[in-house]
């Protein structure tokens, strides 16, 4: 599907989606509360069939966090990017680990690095950071570690 067809289809599924075509792929901005049902539709809708979540990450924009999901279809080979703004002080979004299993690890990474709380994740705990890690989340822009970090 090309971007126009994707846009029509996605508007059908989620009328509140906001599109952004400045990047390489079609960007779709959604509300975090819409994500779970929308994700299920993206995966299971026959004409979209976005079965491959190839990148899941988070960006700290200081005022808010943005979750970024890169999705691809192994059948139709179209790619889309889903973005969702989260509240900086209480970031939480539904987990999609039951839809794309790769999210189990990727969400755990985002949880420890950015402190995003993934609701209904089966096993949300530290993955890369050592056990008993306390304090701030290291990938946030306001993270300071005077002992181990050398400012460049």
């Amino acid at each position: 599907m090309n971007n126009e067809e994707l846009k029509t289809k996605i508007t059908e599924l989620l009328p509140s989606a906001i599109f952004d075509e400045t990047g390489e792929w079609l960007n779709i901005n959604i509300e975090p509360t819409d994500w779970l049902t929308f994700a299920g539709k993206l995966r299971n809708e026959d004409s979209l069939f976005l079965d491959y979540l190839f990148c899941l990450t988070c960006i700290d924009f200081k005022t808010h966090l943005t979750m970024v999901y890169h999705l691809s279809s192994t059948k139709f080979r179209h790619n889309i990017v889903i973005k969702s703004k989260l509240d900086f002080n209480n970031p939480e979004i539904e987990s999609v680990s039951h839809i794309w299993k790769t999210a189990i690890f990727h969400e755990r990474e985002v949880y420890e690095m950015f402190g995003v709380n993934f609701l209904n994740h089966p096993d949300l705990r530290l993955l890369i950071l050592p056990d008993g890690w306390e304090g701030k989340n290291p990938m946030l822009k306001n993270f300071e570690d005077p002992v181990n970090m050398i400012k460049l």
Partner: protein, 371 residues
């Protein structure tokens, strides 16, 4: 995690494999729940060599950050560098000279062969055959010599820069690569004779660590680990970069989904790499090896994503730029991280002794997973 080690209330045994274990090829820690000898659960604990490369890159310029990525997947350093260079070039809209593109592809494929050879030797050693290790390293040394002459390094190459290459080829490059191809073509048949057709080896590998195509997609398994399950995921074919759309090669697919299938994909892939190099080695165009770029690179505000096929699978580089000389946020979607997440599904119901074969055929490189 040590307090968890012991026996559970159901009588299952919980043991550690790693972080210091010869079969993990690095510091990977697995906590395994066993019922007798049958695996009930595998839980990876990562981060023993986490260096926070993504955070580090946020304070490095677009010329500097490429060198850090050689330390991620150190067996495909060239290909990591390629991904980063492509991403910066995409943002800068720089046209890379044809000569640089061809050399990049030759280097990438040599790296792939070197990486698969190390995997082949180490994997055979994991399951008990010691000889292949020496065979593999003998040929790998030839590639390292070629690399050393041109790039000045044997492992962390740092040869690609945004816009092209750091230096031109060594005058002996073509001669040595051709000599290597002739040598390697004979040796790969020797490998097959030594291991591939060996009945003891096949018994250890066949039917071990099954991963279905659906699970492979869901877990994001790419590279030989995904293609062993019949998932077509070769970025070189699907989203060609550099001159991959101008060379003839096949995407290797095996449909069995077991360890033997993943093994066969890599063996056959080495032959395809040779095929690519053969087509290009006599046709390296003359000209510049580097495009003219500014001394200080600035990417326009926006987001850039590139993906390349490393020896282990799909590597994605995601740069978020705010228009400064350093990336605002950079994310490396490393293939090993996703491939490892499938290990639990693969291993459940299998035997503890077979876990080594499964890990071996996933081709885990720990710095690639931890970053």
């Amino acid at each position: 995690m040590l307090e968890e080690i012991g026996t559970t209330t159901e009588g299952d045994l919980i043991i550690n494999v790693g972080p210091q274990h010869p079969a993990t090829h690095g510091v990977l820690h697995l906590v395994i729940t066993l019922n007798g000898e049958t695996i009930k659960k595998v839980e990876p604990h990562l981060g023993y060599i986490h260096r926070s490369i993504e955070k580090m890159c946020e304070s490095l310029t677009y010329r500097q950050f490429i060198y850090v990525t050689s330390r991620m997947d150190y067996l495909s350093a060239h290909i990591n560098n390629h991904a980063c260079a492509l991403c910066v070039e995409k943002g800068m809209q720089v046209e890379v000279p044809e000569r640089a593109q061809v050399i990049r592809v030759i280097m990438d494929e040599l790296t792939r062969i070197a990486s698969h050879e190390l995997w082949w030797g180490a994997m055979a050693m994991d399951i008990g055959a010691f000889t292949p290790f020496f065979h593999a390293f003998r040929e790998r040394e030839k590639i390292n010599e070629i690399m050393e002459e041109t790039c000045g390094a044997r492992l962390t190459m740092n040869y690609y820069v945004p816009g092209g290459l750091m230096a031109d080829l060594h005058p002996d490059f073509q001669k040595k690569v051709k000599a290597f191809i002739t040598l390697f073509k004979n040796k790969i048949d020797e490998y097959d004779e030594l291991i591939t057709g060996n009945i003891i080896f096949i018994n250890r590998m066949k039917g071990v660590g099954f991963l279905s195509k659906e699970d492979a997609v869901s877990f994001g398994c790419t590279g030989p680990s995904g293609r062993g399950s019949g998932l077509s995921c070769d970025i070189r074919k699907l989203y060609p970069y550099a001159v991959y759309d101008k060379v003839q090669f096949d995407e290797i697919l095996e449909t069995d989904g077991d360890s033997l299938a993943r093994y066969m994909v890599r063996i056959r892939e080495m032959k395809q790499s040779i095929r690519i190099i053969e087509q290009l080695i006599d046709n390296i165009p003359e000209g510049d090896f580097q495009a003219k770029t500014k001394a200080v690179l600035k990417l326009p505000k926006g987001e850039f994503y590139t993906r390349v096929e490393t020896a282990r699978g799909e590597l994605g580089v995601y740069i978020v730029s705010e228009g400064a000389t350093t990336p605002y946020r950079i994310k490396f979607r490393s293939p090993g991280f996703s491939n490892l997440s499938a290990l639990d599904t693969m291993a459940r119901g299998g035997k503890l002794g077979d876990l080594v074969a499964m890990m071996g055929t996933l081709d885990l490189v720990i710095p690639d997973i931890d970053r």
